[in-house]
């Protein structure tokens, strides 16, 4: 690791003030992603501000919905009775994330800011526009089996890795960001940026801003949901493709739908064309198959990742069948 200064911070205000003073500082909480990147010299912060002991672990519910403190660990959230009751989709996604050990370290806020698993991003000896803007993209003509077939650009095709972000997008969640100028709430759907020609800028988080909370709005009474993850091995693996579905049923008919694909796109990928087909119908086999067939609209393969195009259709169809109770 490249040397850095280390300082534990006492409260959120101190964290924001100290972040303002560090030219190339980083917050660290669980550390499970950042330390890997530092070991590989992909990340080289000059200052680490340790926020792991800040009182941001609370999980509570009110009339708006669930509030999850950004420093709640993945295991804490997956175990929480309120979350199990109000947002089982999140619990499902979390229990398929990482390993039992990592889930006891990694935080909710950190999970949303984890960096891509693109092989070239994590290999400092190769070109990567996300790691080193302007250096090129080695994945486009290289080993791109794990890359994104949706939302890519000529500069970057790195897939977004977070199962949690995929689930939260289907639940219309928001993140609360605190910065020197106050706090703001950003829908998760607006939080991530497409790579375009600046793949190094992944979110709308401003320098020195901190995620302090995730908000999940209360679900309608007829909510049914499902998170389906397809991967190379049965456990402790990133998604090749995933699908988070939240359907709101009224009298057996889908009144509202959120269908989001993960593992296949540069950001959590909402499939509005799929949602439009399923809304107004019973969530039966015919509806699932008709809707799932549209899931790969706009997808572009790069060779090794071509298999993800039929995989998205099949994953989305299977998720819709599961949530409809027909598979």
């Amino acid at each position: 690791m490249t040397p850095f200064a280390y300082a534990p911070v006492r409260d959120v205000n101190a964290a924001l003030a100290q972040a303002g003073q560090a030219a190339n500082g980083a917050f660290i909480a669980g550390g499970t992603d950042l330390i890997q990147l530092m070991q590989e010299r992909v990340a080289e912060p000059d200052t680490l501000l340790f926020i792991g002991n800040l009182p941001l672990r609370r999980i509570a519910a009110d009339h708006e919905g669930l509030h999850i403190g950004a420093l709640a660990r993945l295991a804490d959230v997956a175990d929480d009775a309120l979350v199990r009751e109000e947002a089982p989709l999140v619990v499902q996604a979390l229990l398929e994330t990482a390993s039992p050990q990592v889930r006891r370290m990694a935080t909710i806020g950190g999970n949303l800011l984890q960096r891509t698993r693109c092989l070239y991003f994590r290999d400092a000896t190769t070109p990567c526009n996300k790691r080193q803007p302007g250096s090129g993209c080695a994945a486009l003509g290289g080993q791109n089996r794990l890359n994104a077939v949706l939302g890519g650009s000529d500069h970057c095709i790195a897939a977004h890795p977070s199962d949690l972000a995929t689930a939260l997008t289907a639940l219309d969640a928001s993140v609360v960001l605190e910065g020197a100028g106050g706090d703001r709430s950003v829908p998760i759907a607006d939080f991530y940026r497409l790579p375009g020609d600046r793949p190094d800028r992944e979110t709308v988080l401003k320098p020195g801003e901190l995620i302090t909370e995730v908000k999940i709005p209360t679900a309608p009474a007829g909510r049914r949901s499902c998170f389906l993850k397809v991967r190379d091995r049965a456990s402790f693996e990133w998604a090749l493709a995933s699908c988070a579905v939240a359907l709101d049923l009224e009298d057996g008919v889908v009144a509202g739908a959120r269908v989001v694909a993960g593992g296949v796109a540069t950001v959590p990928w909402r499939l509005e064309q799929v949602e439009r087909v399923i809304v107004g119908r019973a969530p039966d086999r015919a509806a699932a198959e008709a809707a799932g067939a549209l899931a790969a609209e706009g997808a572009v393969g790069h060779g090794h990742d071509d298999f993800k195009i039929p995989l998205i259709r099949n994953t989305v169809t299977r998720a819709l069948l599961q949530v409809g109770g027909v598979a």
Binding site: P8, F50, P100, S235
Partner: protein
Amino acid sequence: MPEPRAAAIREAIDVTLMVNGAEHALSFDPRTTLLDALRDRLHLTGTKKGCSLGQCGACTVLVDGERIVSCLTLAVMQDGREITTIEGLAPEGELHPVQEAFVAHDGFQCGYCTPGQIMSAVALIEEGHAGSDAEIREWMSGNLCRCGAYTNIVDAVRAAAAKSGAAAGGRS
């Protein structure tokens, strides 16, 4: 490349770690992982270094009773925490029931991943995730065994859990 880093960067940080019941006041280069601190400073070499990337589980220890991988946390981040390593599971000269079960069921071949497997299994039983073989496999998935002793590892965990009377359906 970056301008010269400030002198503050080389400053060692004082921390207190409670390891296997003993208090240690130590000073660390902040880059030191908990794993390296345990092995190189406290000479507790039972905790193994495998991948250093959180993928193999060989470095699993308990922090405040919960399992983590010690390669993905810095020693300075664990200031004031209580850490249990494989050396601290049972009094000198005795074996913890999970250690006994690994011996009885031949839950290893080369032995390198074994301390991590055992620490993870101790936590898994405590969490209540030993309800079935499938559940044990899922909740041991953070520990790899390149010799492929998985079948016997599952046998050992199941036997140790049965002995401890642990039931299924606990925390995640």
